[in-house]
Amino acid sequence: MRSPTVLLLALVGCKAPGLALEFDGGSVDVDDPAGGAFPGLIVVPNLDDDDDDGARDVEGASPAPGDDDKAEVVVPGRVVKKGKGDLALWVDGDDVRVWHDGALVIADRTQTWALPEGDDDLVLEVEVAQGLARADLVLFEDRARGDEVRLAVTGAPLVANHHLQPAEIVWVMSTTDSGFSNASMVEAMRAVLGDRLHTIDARRYRYDVWVQDEPEMGTFTAPDRRMDLVLDSIRDRGLDGFPESLWEPGVASTTWGNPQRRATSYDSFGNLEVTPPVDGYPFGRAYYGASGAEGPDGQFREELAAQLVQAPFQIDTTWLCVGHVDEFTSFVPDPTAPRGFRLLVTDVREAYALIDALDPDAPLPRYGRDFGYPTVGDLAADTALRAYNVGLQDDEIEPNLDRFRDAIALTDDEIVRIPGIFERVGGCGAAALIPGTVNLLVADVDGQTHLFAPDPFFRADDGDQAADPLIADIVSRLPASASVHFVDDWEVYHLGLGEVHCGINARRTPYGAWWEDALDALEEAR
């Protein structure tokens, strides 16, 4: 389906054609040039592969059969006729191409194209190559005289997903090898998500279970079009080929960042999240972990910031072994909250308050086996661990909350402190010792919010979640409207320094109209 946007050039005046433009929702002519102002013609970047030739459609020099991502423009025949072969077209800007009758007539800003003489409507197709590409489509007769009319062309910016958007597809790797199985977690998710849950073959992707880390999901949207984007990290571990496997008509894939640079853990997309909508940012703000010289690839940061709509900010994750924002923070929907969401954050003092109130003789078999704490008392009595955690709370977590307060005016009422403590991974940094509850999957399905959190196994009997005091405490803190599912991620994820959120990714339903709702921010940035 082609965009119905129409560029209509009407001749008025005497010396030159009375250049004018009309398109869906607006018009511009020499007497009213403001009608073609930014954002003007809105086009999704043509980064998918409609003809399945293994290349992005925008990279081809011939039209891709089936391509439906260009915006159609028509120069009416009466304008063409009056121009008598003296009209020409060019593009003032980068990353915009123009097609006519199956031929590429303008490939870049160095080219102009003389409109052929005739009486018929002239159908043009405009495509863009980048998110938030900006240019003017210029029709002119004599530029020296200023006889021209301009229509702004704007590529849709990438809008990365946040947790308040409904989940359409959730991906998780399914691994069932003996001693390394997440079958129970996958089945628990499938019971709720049904066909929305897509499993990834473990062998094909070399058991790289960290599905959060390789792709980042988002969308490009125009008034009549949606294109999903799978952003491909330069991380490039076992899942390197996974983003490309999702590449199909209507789904684009591209890499941001310098793939020649040696990636660090900060380049993984568990270290990139988006806040829910806040004042001035109707699509939320992106945030990632960095400090000083440590953080995501500089080129990636520039490309992310260039999208403007979700103006990124940074918090400090360099104290963590893995170093990702999803390890100690997560946003969840809550209709009772002032802005409809709350920030979950790990809190070690809340954890110790709970631990100190429990029977010290209560057995913790999983903690005994894997961390050397066979009872609650053993964990409580580890003064070095306690000192380490209190230090993390005061020196790292609380200052990070201040960063959220500064960036999105987060209030204390919007913060939910979730009990958790960290272990110290020598030579690396902190990692969740109690499975990190905040590291969870949020899936709004048919209007119901489901939270899939790691089972803390803070009990003697693995099978008796009802007897787990930590689960009871956590549930009492989470939004009452959410259905909470505690799933077993211990072997495959927790012992590998990750949790549920690290192991999933989600395609979510876009919303809103950035060309209206975020226009102030975009125009200000211009």
Partner: protein, 149 residues
């Protein structure tokens, strides 16, 4: 310094004795530890032992011996150091002995593992680590000292 060197020599001799006894007592465990392979994690380059054999408190001499032998790559030696510190807090001498490891991440893990070591061993190790040429090791030493206190 001389006292420290003498102490290290004595601790090394202790390890030889303890290791010989351990092999005699449980050769199957020894073989399991020597051949155990750590798992990859979400953190690039960070491996961890999560198997039952290396979690056995009696595995400490075998872990220490494997660490001392030095035949594993740095990522594995880091994981061995971490596991050793976790399964046997009394094995501090073995950790200190390996502070000569050429890889700073391994040395940092050894220093972090000293958090539960007996005071004699921890103090000796932290004194060495405080003068380490690598800032990561010195930083781990500072953290270890602060949380021990």
């Amino acid at each position: 310094m001389i006292a420290l060197l003498l102490a290290l020599a004595a601790w090394g001799a202790d390890l030889d004795t303890t290791l010989a006894a351990a092999w005699k007592a449980d050769p199957a465990l020894g073989r399991a530890v020597v051949t155990a392979e750590p798992r990859t994690t979400r953190a690039p380059g960070i491996l961890r032992f999560v198997d039952e054999a290396t979690a056995d408190p009696d595995a400490a001499p075998f872990l220490a011996a494997r660490l001392r032998e030095g035949g594993d790559p740095p990522e594995v030696r880091r994981a061995l150091a971490e596991r050793l510190g976790r399964v046997d807090p009394s094995g501090g001498a073995w950790l200190v002995e390996r502070l000569v490891d050429p890889d700073p991440v391994v040395r940092a893990a050894l220093v972090a593992a000293l958090v539960y070591a007996e005071a004699e061993h921890a103090e000796a190790g932290l004194a060495i680590a405080a003068k380490d040429p690598d800032p990561l090791v010195r930083r781990e030493a500072a953290v270890t000292r602060s949380v021990r206190e």
